[in-house]
């Protein structure tokens, strides 16, 4: 039974928050008035290109750049020796060696070795892109190919070539709770499954792009498409200049999805601008981006799931093995997310997780929407469905029996403190599919599948996350919001305006917002981890409220009565008895009496102590967003082709600040998930990437997917502004499992390897038995 909090408990009368307002950036974008990172030219600007390794594992035996540098019109050619600090070292979270924290290194440019195909080796800046590319080709380089490893299994086998100086295991996390061996032995059914997820690319339509220049006060300014403006610190480190001499201006992104979370072009641009003294532009080609940009970790997931006859899941024994590729990037954290979410949004008394990630000479993997909590969904929801089938139980009923509830504890020891709407979400997603599609022909089988998930929002609590914002009135009552929050296209900036409008009663048309400038906007942290609405939204909310209180005290001196009874609406201060004071008048009075009309505020997320995962002792993430998706598919049992006929995605978002934006996130995330489930794969053979074009790396088109019915549930419980929860990542988790479950419903075939291509379905149906 859904508990009483499934309805919004106390819904204040909100005026702007909760409205599907048109976003301010949408008007600019439809007119192509938004200047993306590549839509920028400066006088004297040079064009940059990168020399990349064609080999996945090799020593650089000879590197000679004189001929390239001598080409007329080439301004400079740089290699590792020209980089002030070429090697960046970071502690790998939670991993130690005998002597201290485990360190991971990253080179700006390759030194004597290359460890993955596409690894950057040299940089060129020239008068034209054509000349820069010609110079790249004129660089003389000889390689000695060395043995590499191309699967995590091979990398962890004894005697495997070391990708870095140490063994190839980058990180390991373990959870052990209860007595899994006994629980499995006593269970009524045990379902064993091995699942494989694939390497995929963010495939944002806007490639990595940026322009850098030295400003008149000597500040190295980099204007680029990024999810993290705080990388100005990394650039400063690389260039060995003070951090306050580097400025990152984040443009409105043409998509991020985690692929623009690491440093991409900024270090190169900073270097080239510094060394040439001229503006420099770098735009990666699609081939470059598909070849070498960090991707989503492929996983092997082994599950043994034990259940009682009544459907209660009593044990999960889980083994995860992920591929970090050639460099660590964020792999250890991604693995942590997988470990914490591996058992799914369910109450399970006995859980063992052994998760490892290994270096290989494959393309590096790092952050991507879902961040490790996505791959596990395919496994745990496939397992749930198989348990349901084995017990003869309805899939929704099985979820209902096991769904987490407030007060339950996750395997890692974290107590769930907010409402879990899972049963309601399952019902609604399933119902939203509508009446079943009539079968069109005997060979076309129709089936339906359900999949649930939970995705953390907000960063790990012991990282002490914070975000700041500045909100201020102009003398005429118009409002400015400044916040360092990058806008990846999900309406991040426009949500801040809605929040400020709600608190300060300023019409949206009278608010201007400036985001994502490391020098000019208060830092708000990364647009990742479904944290931005939670963090910068709360920062703006807090700042606006802190600004409002003293203003209303001044207003009370003008209007009489109690400041607590005054409201701000439509650009006025209003009294309970209907008198109004225009904001501009109030601000003039504030100026007279010395009360500030602007405020800089900081929101600190509730923090916690580091958790030893193996001992299962506490809170890891602030909170989670729960979801349930339902899919209806039609399988052509003669060819294996799968058509998605209908799709519904339900999420509890706490509160929808902008319902239209929330629906858009759900629909977009679901379709990315369908791409992951059905067609996307970066095919790498012995470290060589075979899908370096959009002709071979396939993402869904409008003709491949149906309408996605987004079902938005607002429990009124969430840690974000107005009780919102993060929604950026959650919708990408369930689709692959929903499709796999629907295919089994339609045909009886269980697909365990992604993507679920027509050929794999055909093999699963036994269509190729006689063909060999």
């Amino acid at each position: 039974m859904p508990d009483a909090v499934s309805q919004v408990a106390t819904r204040e009368a909100l005026r702007v928050v909760g409205q599907p307002v048109a976003r301010h950036d949408a008007r600019d974008k439809v007119a192509a008035a938004t200047a993306y990172a590549a839509d920028w030219a400066l006088p004297g600007m040079l064009h940059a290109a990168v020399l990349r390794s064609p080999y996945p594992s090799a020593r650089i035996v000879r590197l000679e750049t004189k001929r390239a540098a001598a080409i007329a019109g080439v301004a400079i050619v740089l290699t590792a020796k020209d980089v002030p600090r070429n090697t960046l070292a970071t502690d790998v979270p939670g991993q130690t060696t005998a002597v201290g924290p485990l360190r991971a290194t990253l080179h700006v440019l390759a030194e004597d070795r290359v460890r993955h195909q596409g690894e950057p080796i040299a940089l060129v800046a020239a008068e034209t892109l054509e000349l820069a590319q010609a110079a790249v080709e004129a660089i003389e380089i000889e390689y000695e190919v060395t043995p590499g490893v191309f699967t995590p299994e091979a990398a962890l086998a004894p005697g495997a070539p070391a990708v870095h100086g140490t063994g190839n295991q980058l990180a390991q996390w373990r959870i052990a709770r209860g007595d899994v061996a006994r629980a499995l032995k006593d269970a009524a059914v045990v379902v064993e499954g091995e699942y494989t997820t694939q390497l995929v690319d963010a495939a944002y339509l806007e490639p990595e792009s940026g322009v850098a220049w030295i400003d008149s006060d000597g500040v190295i300014t980099i204007r680029l498409s990024t999810q993290v403006i705080e990388h100005f610190r990394d650039v400063a480190e690389v260039l060995q200049v003070p951090q306050n001499r580097v400025r990152v201006i984040g443009t409105y992104l043409g998509g991020g999805f985690g692929g623009k979370e690491d440093v991409t072009v900024e270090a190169y641009l900073g270097l080239l601008a510094l060394k040439t003294g001229r503006p420099v532009k770098m735009v990666w080609t699609r081939q470059e981006s598909l070849l070498s940009r960090a991707k989503r970790h492929p996983y092997r997931l082994r599950y043994r799931t034990g259940a009682n006859a009544n459907g209660e899941i009593v044990a999960q024994q889980i083994e995860l093995l992920a591929d970090a590729g050639a460099y660590a990037y964020l792999s250890a954290l991604v693995l942590l997310y997988s470990t914490v979410t591996a058992a799914g949004p369910y109450r399970v008394a006995n859980v063992e997780v052994d998760a490892r990630v290994a270096y290989t000479n494959n393309p590096p993997t790092s952050a991507m929407r879902g961040f490790g909590a996505m791959q596990t969904v395919f496994a745990y929801e496939s397992q749930m469905d198989r348990v349901a089938r084995t017990l003869g139980m309805d899939p929704l009923a099985l979820r209902r029996v096991n769904a987490l509830r407030r007060g339950d504890t996750l395997p890692v020891g974290q107590v769930i403190e907010t409402h879990v709407a899972l049963p309601e979400l399952c019902e609604k997603a399933w119902a939203a599919l509508g009446p079943p599609a009539p079968p069109r022909a005997p060979h076309l089988k129709v089936g339906r599948g359900l999949a649930c998930n939970f995705q953390p929002y907000g960063r790990i609590v012991w990282l002490h996350d914070w975000a700041s914002a500045w909100v201020g009135f102009e003398m005429d009552g118009s409002l400015v919001v400044r916040c360092g929050c990058p806008d990846v296209g999900g309406g991040q900036a426009s949500s801040l305006c809605q929040i400020a409008a709600e608190v300060l009663g300023v019409p949206l048309t009278r608010i201007s917002v400036h985001v994502s400038d490391s020098a000019l906007t208060p830092l708000a942290g990364t647009t990742t981890a479904s944290r931005q609405l939670y963090m910068s939204g709360n920062a703006v909310l807090k700042t606006a409220r802190e600004l409002r209180a003293p203003l209303l005290r001044v207003a009370a001196t003008l209007l009489g009565g109690d400041a607590d009874e005054l409201d701000m609406d439509e650009g006025n201060v209003t009294t309970p008895d209907g008198r109004t004071l225009p904001i501009a008048r109030l601000l003039a009075e504030c100026a007279r009496v010395g009360v500030p009309r602007s405020h800089l505020g900081v929101y600190h997320a509730p923090a916690g102590e580091p958790v030893d995962l193996a001992r299962g002792s506490g809170k890891v993430f602030p909170d989670y967003t729960f979801g349930a998706h339902a899919a209806e598919v039609e399988v052509d049992t003669e060819t294996g082709v799968v058509r998605v006929l209908g799709y519904a995605a339900a999420h509890d978002v706490g509160r929808a600040i902008n319902p239209q934006s929330v629906e858009g996130q759900i629909q977009g995330g679901a379709v990315q998930g369908l791409g992951y489930g059905l067609m996307e794969e970066v095919v790498v053979e012995d470290g060589i990437n075979l899908t370096t074009s959009f002709a071979t790396y396939l993402i869904p088109t409008a003709a491949d997917v149906p309408d996605v019915r987004a079902v938005v549930v607002e429990s009124g419980e969430g840690l974000g502004p107005f009780n919102a929860r993060g929604i950026g990542e959650p919708p990408i988790g369930p689709p692959a499992a929903a499709i796999a479950n629907a295919i089994e419903d339609a045909t009886g075939a269980r697909l365990t390897r992604l993507p679920i291509t027509a050929e794999r379905v055909a093999r699963g149906l036994g269509l190729l038995e006689d063909a060999g």
Binding site: L205, E206, R286, V671, S693
Partner: protein
């Protein structure tokens, strides 16, 4: 070489390199950023322009080959400084997230509606299948085009 074109209604003659594409002519020479660069192989659609009324991948057209053709980019839609009703429909229906695919989607949809003014949702999806979008999942884009048709603008 000289490229001759009628760009958004204005005749232009522009000096171009032999290997210069229409995309490069528009962005690099003329500073028109209505068309974007996404893949250089004609698959993604963000470089879409209308050539004599039909959608083309401007990354695959050599500028030197333009012999007086009409080229339209998004700003060619502007009406007295205001938005074209289809642009307005995109804004109202939440069909724009990162916006990178938007100019190509708009031009392609308009060219399609010229030829098929009363499409259903399936036909709209088929018409837009050559324009990739990574953010919206397409549903609201189809909503916007359908609304535009329903409101009698097509």
């Amino acid at each position: 070489m000289i490229a001759r074109l009628v760009l958004n209604g204005r005749p232009r003659e522009v000096e171009v390199r032999p290997n210069q594409t229409l995309l490069e002519l528009l962005r690099d020479t003329l500073g028109i950023f209505d068309v974007k660069e996404g893949c250089d192989e004609g698959v993604c659609g963000v470089c879409t322009a209308l050539l004599d009324g039909r959608p083309v991948s401007s990354c695959l057209v050599l500028a030197a080959g333009l012999r007086g053709s009409a080229v339209m980019t998004l700003r060619g839609l502007e009406r007295n400084g205001g938005l074209h009703p289809l642009q307005d429909a995109f804004v109202r229906h939440g069909a724009v997230q990162c916006g990178f695919c938007t100019p190509g989607m708009l031009l392609t949809a308009l060219a399609f509606l010229e030829r098929q003014p009363r499409p259903d949702r399936t036909a709209i999806r088929a018409a837009l299948e050559g324009n990739l979008c990574r953010c919206t999942g397409y549903t609201k884009i189809v909503d916007a085009v359908e609304a535009y048709v329903r409101e009698g603008h097509a």
